[in-house]
């Protein structure tokens, strides 16, 4: 800083653009310690953890789609979805272990069961889900042990709901502003994104006659994803800035365009193999880009102290007497 003093950051996280109206009371100017972040940037790598957000969602939702499609008498789609689920969860486990600082100790995840730790819950979910998804896929591909396969299909579908959505609690249960503040909509965004990906994969890999269930699942998913995202942005207001600028902003926008395109394609594809496949690919890519966008937005919000200090200052400003705060003048 030129004056050698602590950095004076600009106005709070973004401004509500209301026709350029100047507020009567100047916005609080969050200070910082030489512009240094208050928080530590998440140590998770995008290639591992953001990938997992996508693959975990794809796996869980694919298991659900497989189970219900099988019940409705579809022969081709369940097999494809089960194989996809097993593959995606395999990738998930690999990247999760790779992301650990001490990968050899991955089994320590199963030392305890803690409801206060979404990662602990997730570890146990994956422990049940992984083998079930694997068994369901193996039985579907080989045609052996149909009863075991059916049980595994049911188990993977039940646990799949959790696998596809708990990751929202995982990232929101942090001090990272963009993640934490989005906790109300994030589970719906993730559930929608997971359904969109699983349906998209069905559209891409299965002939249109066999992929109607996938198309409908994808349509519902993409609509939920787009709705949850827009609700989240609206509720966050100025605090949604990390989702709108920079790399995260570009990823989120590309994800949205692809999801909307894929959604339109899935609605219109009918019996056209090419349109169905392209829509499926767009939905898959849109889901992945959205997960990477959410991940990047979190990192960006942890990096800049204004996203930490600004909302807390605002909260203190709104706090009425009796609301306890960290700072008090003492007696």
């Amino acid at each position: 800083m030129s004056d050698g003093g602590p950095a004076r950051r600009g106005a709070g996280p973004g401004r509500a653009g209301r026709g350029g109206e100047e507020p009567v009371v100047p916005r609080a100017r969050p200070d910082s310690y030489y512009g240094r972040p208050v928080l530590k940037k998440p140590v998770w790598e995008a290639e591992n953890v953001a990938s997992y957000l996508f693959f975990g969602g794809l796996a869980g939702a694919s298991s659900l789609l497989a189970a219900f499609a099988q019940l409705s008498g579809n022969r081709e789609l369940p097999r494809v979805s089960k194989v996809a689920a097993a593959g995606a969860i395999g990738v998930s486990l690999a990247v999760l272990v790779r992301d650990l600082g001490r990968p050899a100790r991955f089994l320590n995840m199963l030392r305890v069961f803690k409801v206060t730790s979404p990662m602990s819950i997730g570890s146990w979910l994956l422990t049940g889900y992984g083998p079930a998804a694997g068994a369901a896929a193996a039985s579907a591909v080989t045609g052996r042990l149909p009863r075991t396969g059916a049980a595994a299909t049911a188990a993977s579908a039940a646990l799949g709901c959790g696998v596809a959505t708990y990751t929202a609690a995982l990232i929101c249960d942090t001090a990272v502003p963009a993640w934490h503040e989005g906790y109300r909509e994030m589970p719906f965004l993730f559930a929608g994104s997971a359904a969109s990906a699983a349906g998209g994969l069905g559209l891409l890999a299965v002939r249109p006659e066999g992929s109607r269930e996938a198309a409908r699942f994808a349509i519902l998913g993409a609509m939920a994803e787009l709705t949850a995202k827009s609700l989240m942005m609206r509720r966050l207001g100025p605090a949604s800035e990390p989702y709108q600028v920079g790399r995260a902003g570009r990823l989120m926008e590309a994800g949205e365009v692809l999801a909307a395109t894929g959604l339109a394609g899935a609605v219109l594809s009918g019996r056209n193999r090419l349109i169905a496949a392209l829509s499926g690919a767009a939905l898959l890519a849109g889901s992945a880009l959205t997960r990477f966008g959410v991940f990047e937005a979190g990192r960006a919000s942890a990096r800049d102290p204004k996203y930490t200090v600004g909302p807390q200052r605002e909260r203190l400003g709104q706090a009425t007497a009796g609301a306890p705060a960290a700072v008090r003048p003492g007696t």
Binding site: G4, Y34, L39, L65, G101, G162, T174, A175, A224, P329
Partner: protein
């Protein structure tokens, strides 16, 4: 807000954290009161901490921003002395209540310093050993634990370096070390406490800026000190994290600051993320159920289509 079993209620009655962690018979809670008004920025605490805990050095670069070349707390820095140089007027700040030009509180506020308000703020930062510790809550392996002294410690032989605690800490204290892949932070010298010794940083502090002792006693001392400063005209003196009813249930390590917390790189109103977790789980459960309903609905007409 209702609670899920096993989760912390939204507002905790003020209970000793060691007691809440299940220690039936435990010593009094121990902590730090860091009075930054007497800190001289000597960094003896940083050095003593590194020496006692055998924490590796973490670079000898000059930051160029101030006399602070340590920059921040990290896996290899468990005490960090912040150095803030406030020169002259605040410039872009609002004018003082007496109409004085915009500037940081300084001489005009009765604080001894240069006539133009220039002053140096020095503060030794450390893990807050929160009463409601987010790092401990989210740790999936149980590596982070509450000690009988009410402090929060990482068990290095259990930590698998998942990094969840790093994102959960509202103060950016705990960090993962690149070399060994594990998470590390201040232990409040757990190995010394057992033998009735003072933590290394407090022992080395030449001005008693870092005071160590039972938290109850430190709170009283802190309140007396801030009252004393207010009486002598230092209006900007304030206690930080001393209130057991704040967003982290109060710190086991708390501070007397002379300016807003963010000036020192501290969050002004930290709230442990786990307070919102019951609501997060509820939203997640609804979303999971919604996903199952969507899959069911998508497949409802499948059989008819094929028949």
């Amino acid at each position: 807000m209702t609670d899920l079993p096993g989760l912390l209620p939204a507002s905790l009655p003020v209970i000793d954290p060691a007691e809440r962690a299940g220690y039936a018979d435990h010593p009094p809670r121990l902590g730090f009161f860091t009075d930054t008004s007497v800190c001289i920025g000597c960094k003896a605490c940083e050095v003593a901490c590194k020496e006692w805990n055998a924490v590796p050095e973490d670079g000898l670069l000059l930051t160029g921003m101030s006399y602070d070349n340590t920059e921040q707390l990290s896996a290899t820095t468990w005490r960090h002395v912040a150095f803030i140089e406030q020169i002259g007027s605040r410039g872009d700040g609002p004018p003082g209540p007496d109409g004085s030009p915009g500037g940081l509180p300084g001489a005009a506020d009765g604080w001894p310093g240069a006539a133009d308000g220039t002053r140096w703020l020095m503060a030794s930062d450390v893990c807050k050993h929160c009463s409601e510790a987010a790092c401990l809550d989210v740790c999936p392996t149980g590596a982070l634990m509450r000690t009988e002294f009410g402090t929060v410690v990482v068990q290095d032989d259990i930590c698998n370096g998942c990094g969840n605690c790093v994102s959960a800490c509202p103060f950016g204290v705990i960090a993962r070390q690149e070399v060994d892949g594990g998470a590390h932070k201040c232990t409040l010298c757990y190995d010394r406490l057992g033998d009735g010794l003072t933590p290394a940083c407090a022992k080395a502090c030449p001005t008693e800026s870092i005071q160590f002792g039972p938290v109850d006693e430190l709170r009283e001392r802190a309140q007396a000190r801030v009252g004393e400063l207010h009486e002598s005209g230092v209006a900007g003196a304030r206690l930080y994290l001393e209130n057991p009813e704040d967003g982290i249930g109060g710190g086991g390590a708390f501070f007397l600051l002379l300016d807003e917390p963010e000036v020192y790189g501290l969050p002004p109103d930290p709230v442990v993320t786990t307070r919102d977790l019951p609501r997060m789980w509820r939203h997640t459960a609804v979303a999971a159920a919604g996903l199952a309903v969507a899959a069911f609905a998508a497949c409802l007409h499948g059989a008819r289509e094929r028949s």
